[in-house]
C-alpha cells in the first residue's frame, strides 16, 4: 500500500440512541491521509465529532463504518504505538510523576535499568527532573501536561494523538508548550494529529489544517500551511491563513445554526 502512516477512508461514526430518531451522527464519510512526520491539526465547531475521530484512531471508540489503517494495519484496539494526550492530562493521581512516566515501560516489560535511563532522559527533556517525586495534584497544569507528554513519549511512539491538550492552560504556558511540542515533533519525527478549537493554534502548529463542519462532522477543507517555522503569529501571511480558517468555521457554524432552527 502507500507509505501513509494514518489512513482513514469513508469513516463514519454513529452513536445509537434508544430510538432510531435519537441516533447522533458524529462523523460522516471522513477520508484522511497523513504521512510520516506530518503535523496535522483538526479544527471545527464544538460537537463536530473531532474527538470521536481521534478516539476512533486511538482505538477507544469503534467505528460504525469505513476503514482506519495505521502503517497499513487496521486499528482494532488502543496500543502504545498510538500515544494519546488528553485535555484533562489523565495522569494517575496515585502515582508520583516518575511512576507515571514509568507506567508504560513497566507494562511493556522493559528491563528496570534500561527503563530508569529512559525515564531519566525523558524527565530532562521535559524539564521535570526536580519534581519527579511529586504527585500530580501537587504540580501546576503546565507541569502536568508536560508529564503527560513525557509519559507517552517514553514509549517511543510514532504517532501522537492530541485532544485539545493545551486548552486548560494559561496563555503563557500554552505558548511555551506549543514551541516545545513543535521542537519535539521534528526532533523525534513524530506524526501528530492535534485537535484544537483555537484557529491560531491550528495554523501555528499544523503542516496541514483540517477544518470540520458542524454535526454531522465532515472535512470541509484540507489546508496546507506553507509558512517557515518557527512561525510568527503577527505576520501578514499568518493572518491571511487565520482569516481564511476563521471564515470557514463561521460558515460551518452558521450552517449548524440553520439546521438546528429547521429541526425545531
Amino acid at each position: 500500500m502507500t507509505e501513509n502512516r494514518i489512513v482513514c477512508r469513508n469513516l463514519t461514526k454513529i452513536f445509537h440512541g434508544i430510538h432510531a430518531k435519537q441516533d447522533v451522527v458524529a462523523c460522516e464519510d471522513i477520508s484522511i491521509e497523513i504521512q510520516p512526520g506530518e503535523f496535522v491539526t483538526v479544527i471545527g465547531p464544538s460537537g463536530c465529532g473531532k474527538t470521536s475521530l481521534l478516539y476512533m484512531i486511538a482505538g477507544f471508540e469503534q467505528k460504525t463504518s469505513g476503514m482506519i489503517l495505521v502503517d497499513g494495519k487496521s486499528v482494532q484496539s488502543p496500543g502504545p504505538d498510538r500515544a494519546v494526550v488528553f485535555q484533562e492530562f489523565a495522569l494517575f493521581p496515585w502515582l508520583t510523576l516518575r511512576q507515571n512516566i514509568e507506567f508504560g515501560p513497566r507494562e511493556r516489560g522493559i528491563q528496570n535499568d534500561v527503563m530508569r535511563e529512559h525515564v531519566n532522559s525523558m524527565l530532562r527533556t521535559v524539564g521535570l527532573t526536580a519534581a519527579e517525586s511529586r504527585y500530580p495534584h501537587e504540580l501546576s497544569a503546565g507541569m502536568r501536561q508536560r508529564a503527560a507528554l513525557a509519559r507517552v513519549l517514553v514509549n517511543e511512539p510514532k504517532i501522537l494523538l492530541m485532544d485539545e491538550p493545551f486548552a486548560a492552560l494559561d496563555a503563557q504556558t500554552r505558548s511555551t508548550l506549543q514551541a516545545e511540542l513543535g521542537r519535539l515533533a521534528k526532533l523525534l519525527n513524530l506524526t501528530i494529529l492535534f485537535i484544537t478549537h483555537s484557529v491560531e493554534e491550528a495554523v501555528l502548529l499544523g503542516d496541514r489544517v483540517l477544518a470540520m463542519s458542524a454535526r454531522p462532522g465532515r472535512i470541509i477543507e484540507d489546508l496546507a500551511i506553507n509558512l517557515p517555522r518557527p512561525r510568527d503569529p503577527t505576520s501578514p501571511a499568518f493572518n491571511e491563513y487565520r482569516r481564511h480558517v476563521d471564515l470557514l468555521l463561521e460558515q460551518a457554524t452558521r450552517t449548524a445554526a440553520d439546521t438546528e432552527t429547521t429541526a425545531n
Binding site: A58, P78, R82, A90, P93, Y135, H137, V152
Partner: protein, 285 residues
C-alpha cells in the same frame, strides 16, 4: 501547606523554641477533646451523690466493679471476676476473623461486580435481596446450622459486614474515570489487567470508607451473636450482667466495646492515611 507558611513566618531559631511555641496548640486540642466527657462524668457523679438510687450506679462504682472484672480472682460461677481480658480477646478474635473474611471477599467481589457488566447483571439482584435482610434475622439460621459454636458468630459477622463493603466497592469500581482506563490502555496495559492497575487504585479511597463501615457493623454483630449464639465475649458479659441486674457491669462492658471499636477504627484510619498519601491536600480542608 500551613506548616510551610508558619515555619516561614515564625522562623524559630532553635528546635526548642519551636516546641515551646507549638506545645500549647496540641495541648489545647487534647484538652478540648476531653472537656465534654469530663464534664459528663462530673455531672454523673454529682447526680448519683445528691440523689442516690439503687438503679443508677455512680462512676466510682462502675470503676470498682470494672477493676474486679479485670483483676479479680477467677472463681467458678462468678463470670464477672477476672474474665475481662479473656472476654475482650474472644470478642476481638471473632471480629477479626469475621471482618477479615468480609473484607477480602467484599473488596475482591466488589471490584469484579462493579467492573464487569456481565457479573453485575448476574449478581446485582441477588445481592440487593440479601442486603435487604437484616443480618440479625440470620441468627436463628446460623445457630441452627452451626450450633452454639464460634463458626456461628464468625459467619454472622462475615456475612453481615460483607454487604456494605461489596456494595460500596462495586459502586466505586463502576465510577472509575474513563480517561484513566483509556490512558492505561494506550500505555500498553492489557484489558484484563485494567481491574488491578486502574480500577483497584481509583477505588481505594472508597474501599477504605467501606472497610470502616464494615468494621463498625462487625462490632454490632459480635455483640448480637455473643448475646444469642455463643459463650464468652463482651456481648455475653452484657447479657449476663443484665440477667444479674448489674447496671455497673453493663456500663463497664459498653465502655469496653466503645474503646475497642474506636481503637480498631483508628487503626484502619491510620492504614488508610498511609495508603492514600497521594490524596493528601487533594480532598477536604
Amino acid at each position: 501547606m500551613t506548616e510551610q507558611i508558619t515555619s516561614f513566618t515564625d522562623r524559630p531559631s532553635t528546635g526548642e523554641r519551636e516546641a515551646l511555641i507549638r506545645a500549647p496548640v496540641w495541648l489545647r486540642k487534647l484538652a478540648l477533646r476531653f472537656l465534654v466527657p469530663v464534664i459528663f462524668l462530673i455531672a454523673w457523679q454529682a447526680v448519683t451523690a445528691l440523689a442516690p438510687t439503687p438503679s443508677l450506679p455512680s462512676p466510682r462504682e462502675v470503676v470498682d466493679s470494672w477493676l474486679v472484672w479485670i483483676f479479680g480472682p477467677r472463681l467458678q460461677l462468678q463470670w464477672y471476676s477476672g474474665t475481662w481480658i479473656e472476654y475482650v480477646l474472644l470478642s476481638l478474635r471473632r471480629v477479626l476473623a469475621g471482618f477479615a473474611i468480609a473484607a477480602t471477599a467484599g473488596v475482591t467481589f466488589g471490584l469484579v461486580l462493579g467492573w464487569y457488566a456481565l457479573i453485575h447483571d448476574l449478581f446485582d439482584g441477588v445481592i440487593n435481596f440479601l442486603r435487604a435482610i437484616p443480618t440479625t434475622a440470620w441468627v436463628p439460621f446460623a445457630v441452627f446450622f452451626f450450633g452454639i459454636h464460634e463458626t456461628a458468630a464468625i459467619f454472622l459477622i462475615a456475612f453481615g459486614s460483607f454487604f456494605p463493603i461489596v456494595i460500596n466497592v462495586a459502586g466505586a469500581a463502576r465510577q472509575t474515570p474513563r480517561t484513566l482506563v483509556r490512558a492505561a490502555l494506550m500505555l500498553g496495559t492489557k484489558p484484563r489487567n485494567i481491574i488491578w492497575r486502574v480500577v483497584l487504585r481509583a477505588a481505594l479511597p472508597a474501599i477504605f470508607t467501606s472497610l470502616r463501615l464494615g468494621l463498625g457493623l462487625a462490632w454490632v454483630l459480635v455483640i448480637v451473636s455473643e448475646m444469642l449464639a455463643v459463650q464468652g465475649g463482651l456481648g455475653y458479659a452484657l447479657w449476663s450482667a443484665y440477667q444479674f441486674n448489674r447496671l455497673d457491669l453493663i456500663v463497664a462492658a459498653i465502655v469496653s466495646v466503645g474503646c475497642l471499636g474506636l481503637a480498631s477504627d483508628k487503626f484502619l484510619e491510620l492504614l488508610s492515611m498511609h495508603a492514600l498519601k497521594w490524596q493528601r491536600g487533594l480532598t477536604g480542608r
